[in-house]
Symmetry: C2
Subunit: 338 residues, 2 copies
């Protein structure tokens, strides 16, 4: 594959992304100083089409890149454009004003949507990769407790616990001390084992209560596999006629399904720094015509993912740079709050 052919592909990708219209040989020869005529470009285009990098919507139209073409562009041709200093400062300032984890996530997702002009998705720090910072028991009535769990990422989970016997204030303090002694600092992934033995460690008369508490801890806090996700920028789906091929309907529906969004952000085990899934590289059927750029974030290790969703004809260098930068800043913030 010729160097010039690659240049032609780059030209097609860039122009198509910019204008959103099929680009013809003449335009390529003129706007990008390749030093050859349109006829020569036509020959290269015929080759690129044969090889599957570009395609023609109809016989007498210009060419548009295929998913394979974008893939090549991303892998070998696109140079990531770092954010400007002003943008970086703005990102930093905006995120550091966050008052708690919820706020960090909310601000992040808005920021991503605004920077990339696309739909942004941010996963809350995954519970099963966090560890316990503190457990709190609040007595609401003598037989009703509220259990509050705070993780090292700042996430707060709360549950009600009905207990079988009336508790005194001291009982509550006892239980509180017990669960914190056992679980503080422990990874949630290791917690089930510890929780199993919890009831056995309590004073005999508190056994029944401790086991009710253990059940709630296990069932609804630790074993909870569902993940929370924040979305912003849905309005960007309608940008300059993006009008996502068919209708927006399926996309909008998918964006309200946590399960789908989690798939979108990629199987939880992917630890890659940054992933770009173009068109049908995507597992979710509704997004076969979209590109998803995702990055992991977290203090040290990855505790969640964030990403943006856009048309395959997106500004790859800019989008990739934005996602990467935001993921880094968020990681820094979590690091500081640890």
């Amino acid at each position: 594959m010729d160097d010039r052919k690659l240049e032609v592909l780059r030209a097609i990708v860039e122009d198509y992304v910019a204008t959103q219209e099929p680009v013809g040989s003449k335009a390529v020869a003129q706007r990008h100083s390749l030093g050859v005529s349109a006829a020569t470009v036509r020959n290269d285009m015929a080759y690129l089409e044969e090889a599957g990098y570009i395609q023609q919507p109809h016989t007498s139209a210009g060419r548009i890149p295929t998913a394979k073409g974008y893939r090549l562009f991303v892998d070998r041709l696109g140079k990531i454009k770092p954010l400007s200093a002003a943008e970086r400062r703005a990102v930093h300032r905006f995120l550091s004003e966050a008052i708690d984890l919820d706020d960090v996530v909310t601000r992040t997702v808005r920021l991503l949507a605004q920077l990339t002009h696309q739909v942004a998705v941010v996963q809350y720090p995954s519970l099963n990769r966090s560890s316990v910072r503190h457990l709190e028991l609040v007595s609401l009535t003598p037989t009703r407790l509220m259990l509050v769990m705070i993780t090292d990422t700042g996430r707060v989970e709360q549950r009600y616990v009905e207990v079988p016997a009336e508790l005194t204030e001291d009982d509550v303090l006892d239980l509180r001390r017990l669960v914190n002694e056992q679980l503080q600092g422990k990874a949630l992934a290791d917690a089930p084992r510890i929780i199993d033995g919890l009831a056995g460690l309590a004073r005999p008369e508190l056994r029944a209560t401790a086991s009710a508490l253990a059940r709630v801890l296990l069932e609804s806090v630790v074993a909870r596999t569902e993940e929370r996700v924040a979305v912003a920028g849905a309005a960007n789906l309608t940008r300059n006629g993006n009008f996502f091929a068919g209708s927006l309907r399926p996309i909008l529906e998918a964006l309200e399904e946590e399960v789908v969004l989690m798939q979108l952000l990629g199987r939880a085990d992917s630890n890659a720094l940054l992933t770009v899934r173009i068109g049908d590289e995507n597992e979710v059927a509704d997004f076969r015509e979209a590109t998803v750029v995702t990055a992991g974030y977290g203090p040290g290790s990855v505790v969640g993912h964030m990403g943006v969703l856009g048309p395959t004809r997106m500004d790859y260098p800019g989008t990739i740079a934005a996602v990467r930068a935001v993921a880094r800043y968020v990681s820094e913030i979590l690091e500081q709050n640890r």
Copy 2:
């Protein structure tokens, strides 16, 4: 205004809502057994148009209701259709499975969207109409606390507090006792006054710390005017060509603006049980072609609002019934958890 004329208006509203096409005199005369001919209906229609209740998209088309027409329909003609027993059971079951307040809100907003096939909006219980159930202090480092506030509606707010001096465990317990003694059960609206005196009540060596704590309480928990809102069912905006007149763009954008959504749900002081704002009765410019049906909810008194947003040509009896029913069930649930 004739009785029959009202019947003609009802027929036009019902048929237009069902078919989404202008309805002609012939259709009205046939489908609704009025016992008169099409020509007579035409005369009535001319009157209704003159009076501003209906209008013609173009000369030789059928009629469609105006906002004024819908208003009359809602006020005098529409009989609210209560939900079926099966629907009521489903609503009840789905909502009672909620595990905490966040879950209640999330489930509510989804339920509303699904029942009405429209965009649903639910405000989290407003902080300044709640009261303090419990305040918790967690010591993260000797100079750093986490403050957790739980309200009577189940809402949980958390903030970090940097304190000027190192604290012992006993210090933290002392402070915890102090703030709870002072604030537990108090309405947040009354809290600022109490918080002001807080530092004065602490042991002398804890004064500085207590006043740092008081500052956070006041500034970022109590005085916080921003409200949280949940949205669902945006995909319904694309239902059978709803395609909201112009483009979805402004609507989708508005749905991501908390401020706009709060306006949508109505000025906070409105205590009406159920409100229907049709077309330009709406204050928000982007929603001049929409109808918003809202209801207040809360245990006893109103602590928040919920509602749905749809095209002016919506199924009013069904929508009103759904919003009212869901608001009631949510109120019941909050009541139980109090």
